[in-house]
């Protein structure tokens, strides 16, 4: 009997061990107590601890940004005794849609992580996963240092800090423009004329990769177009039903995009290419224009680019609507902080924020990584590329900025527009039908509340 009992216990133990392997957060046992019994405290010899920073600088084009992050975290480690940062790089969509989301579900998010403003921030804040940073910002004296924290603010509490801003518009290849004898277009008709001249020269006018999962790429252009034609207030009303997707401005915008494709101005391979491939077609000089966000500047001025010194930027030409002169831009990506931090972790996070969010670092990422500052006071940008300067001019000369539509509408609406515009580019749906379908998706989303 005794023997069988032992065996049973072995079995139980094996079972437990198997299960223990599953739990991700197996905590180490209590730290070994110091033996000897003497009570002399060890001065300044803090226990060492790790703090994970989840970032998205994993691509080759983000090397400079990663280096900057490494240097700042190394400097912060010296300030906080015992601190060791662990940089955990994850590709941006994987982090946003899969990894961070799963961690948020189980409450195991890292102390510091890359976070998007808007819908994501609201959801996580409501679930109580994010730390409100208002007090910390006041303490560090940077509460008023940011241009705009709107996308990270929920009910007056700030849950994240943008690293940099963005604007969207056309990048163009000055040399190809010169060869074709055209200049930067000011109106939509001029843009069409420019495209025609480029096409006649055998150059793809607009590079774009909107295939497979990258349906959001074409929507940057669609977004700027319908705001240009209908004004910024148009998209503010979608989520509540105050305005409709069947608005003539949206239909016209969809028409113009389809027109660009049908006339061969947008790369005919658009549905067979990924976002990065579309981008590459521009920065290897195969296409003359690229509608993209300012973050692309990094790739365009990167090592593999052949158009480094000949590329410029202009915002969407005037399209003849109330939104002319406005630019799609904002500050929507940065760091969030976990709500469940231990005291020493909080100290580490605070030190990191102090070292990361200052004018000096903002200036560095502008010059080295072509990132638009999120904080005020960056000046004397000697060393910045011509491209970054023209980005700055476009931002400065705009009448105002409007956020990307996907920060304003429900997620299901965003996904529906991606598929619908893909169909539009594939010639499978008319602009009118597309607008109707969008409105149906919008009404359904309002009804279901998601």
């Amino acid at each position: 009997m005794k023997k069988s009992l032992t065996l049973l216990m072995i079995v139980a133990l094996m079972g437990m061990l198997t299960l223990a392997g599953c739990s991700g957060s197996s905590k180490p046992a209590d730290p070994p107590k110091e033996s000897g019994g003497t009570t002399t405290p060890e001065p300044e010899k803090a226990e060492s601890f790790d703090v994970v920073i989840r970032h998205i600088n994993v691509r080759d084009t983000a090397k400079a940004m990663l280096k900057q992050l490494e240097e700042v975290s190394a400097a912060t480690e010296k300030e906080v005794p015992g601190l060791k940062f662990k940089l955990d790089g994850v590709e941006d969509t994987v982090n946003r849609d899969v990894k961070l989301k799963a961690e948020m579900t189980s409450g195991t998010q890292p102390p510091l992580f890359n976070l998007f403003g808007g819908d994501d921030t609201i959801k996580y804040a409501k679930a109580g996963r994010l730390l409100a940073l208002n007090d910390m910002l006041t303490e560090l004296g940077i509460a008023d240092a940011f241009f705009n924290l709107r996308e990270f603010t929920v009910d007056g509490k700030i849950y994240g800090l943008p690293e940099s801003g963005y604007i969207e518009g056309f990048f163009y290849n000055k040399k190809l423009f010169e060869d074709a004898g055209v200049t930067v277009p000011k109106t939509w008709d001029e843009l069409l004329a420019v495209c025609e001249a480029l096409k006649a020269k055998g150059i793809t006018p607009i590079a774009m990769g909107d295939g497979s999962g990258d349906g959001w790429v074409a929507n940057m252009l669609v977004n700027s177009l319908f705001v240009g034609l209908g004004g910024p207030a148009l998209q503010d009303g979608f989520a509540t039903g105050a305005t409709k997707w069947t608005d003539p401005a949206v239909v016209e915008a969809l028409k113009r995009v389809q027109d660009l494709k049908n006339k061969g101005y947008i790369d005919p391979n658009v549905l067979g290419l990924k976002y990065s491939q579309g981008q590459a077609n521009f920065y290897t000089g195969k296409a003359a224009m690229l509608f993209d966000g300012s973050w692309a500047a990094n790739a365009i001025t990167g090592d593999t680019s052949t158009v480094k010194d000949v590329s410029g930027f202009f915002r969407l030409p005037d399209v003849g609507g109330p939104g002319d002169g406005y630019i799609n831009g904002g500050w929507s990506n940065g760091f969030g902080v976990s709500a469940n931090l231990k005291e020493n972790e909080l100290k580490a996070v605070k030190a990191f924020i102090k070292n990361w969010y200052n004018v000096e670092q903002q200036k560095r990422s502008l010059i080295e990584s072509s990132r638009i500052p999120a904080m005020k006071g960056v000046s004397n940008v000697e060393g910045a590329t011509e491209l970054v300067k023209s980005l700055g001019e476009s931002q400065g000369s705009a009448k105002g900025a409007f956020p990307a539509f996907d920060a304003l509408v429900q997620k299901s609406v965003k996904v529906t527009l991606e598929q619908t515009v893909q169909e539009l580019l594939g010639g499978k749906i008319t602009p009118e039908k597309a607008a109707e379908r969008m409105q149906q998706a919008q009404e359904k989303a309002i009804k279901e509340g998601k």
Partner: protein, 295 residues
């Protein structure tokens, strides 16, 4: 042996660990999934019970049926195109006298690569401008045959199927080959003496004798096709405009792109049920025909 079977303790020592693993990694997730499938849940806040709403929604969801249809294509392609090719190639290879190992190795190669690598490699092959396939077509003067393979709704899913076939054919060929080599020589020799040579031998002797292996191959193809996810996710991500979506990628999209975990769990349950039904049908058909084959 009998002694051990009668010793309950020893019995448990052997069975319990496996049972614990089975319960932890199979039964608990399955029942959790079942539990979440009747809720409206965004993955973060508390799930809200909503009865069979998710299932009703799935069955009336046009896009879900597109995905289901693609799964069925997947199954049909596997069973009626892939499996015959596998059998023919296996019989051919089994008759080879020299370099047998070389052939075996060559056909087996693709299945040791990870699906992710294969999907990326074939993405390059299908790439519109620089892609191998279009380049070959152009070089052969078939310019009009070039396509946006993965970007055209007519060819996208077929392209994925071909890639999947390329990956797994070798694995099954090796499986079938093992079956062929296990046939006792005497039977084949006797058949040859009676005049069964060439395709007659294959059709009347070899295939009936390796029937059990073919049955397993088909079953694996069917279940593999029903749960296909990775290769579609990487190659087309369901695109263009959802035309190459399969049930598993649709589930993935609902969960991770739209944050509708309740609905995604319902789809997971539906996939399980459909796969079980299909396997059952296959089992019944197989049982019936195998009885007939005995006479």
């Amino acid at each position: 042996m009998n002694k051990i079977l009668r010793n309950r303790v020893a019995y448990m020592v052997f069975v319990v660990p496996a049972l614990v693993l089975y319960i932890t990694f199979y039964l608990i997730p399955l029942f959790k999934s079942l539990q979440y499938s009747v809720t409206s849940w965004d993955g973060i806040t508390a799930p809200v019970y909503n009865g069979v709403d998710n299932f009703i929604r799935a069955l009336s969801d046009e896009k879900f049926w597109v995905a289901f249809k693609n799964n069925i294509y997947f199954v049909l392609f596997s069973v009626f195109i892939q499996v015959p090719i596998i059998i023919v190639v296996s019989i051919l290879v089994s008759g080879v006298k020299r370099l047998l190992d070389f052939y075996k190795l060559t056909v087996f190669m693709p299945s040791i690569l990870s699906t992710a690598s294969i999907a990326v490699i074939w993405q390059f092959i299908y790439s519109p401008d620089a892609g191998l396939l279009n380049q070959i077509l152009k070089a052969a003067g078939l310019e009009t045959w070039t396509r946006l393979w993965l970007g055209d709704e007519k060819t996208a899913f077929l392209s994925v199927l071909v890639t999947n076939g390329w990956q797994w054919t070798g694995f099954y060929i090796v499986l079938v080959l093992a079956g062929i080599f296990a046939i006792p020589k005497e039977i084949l020799e006797a058949g040859e003496i009676d005049g069964a040579v060439g395709w007659r031998k294959a059709w009347l002797l070899t295939i009936p004798l390796i029937r059990p292996v073919i049955v397993v191959t088909m079953l694996l193809s069917i279940t593999g096709a029903m749960k296909a996810l990775d290769i579609v996710l990487i190659m087309t991500n369901g695109g263009p405009f959802g035309s190459s979506e399969v049930m598993a990628t649709y589930m993935y999209q609902q969960a991770y792109a739209l944050g509708d975990f309740g609905y995604a769990n319902a789809i997971a349950i539906i996939i399980t049920v459909f796969t079980a039904i299909l396997s059952l049908i296959y089992h019944l058909v197989n049982k019936k025909t195998s009885k007939e084959a005995e006479y």
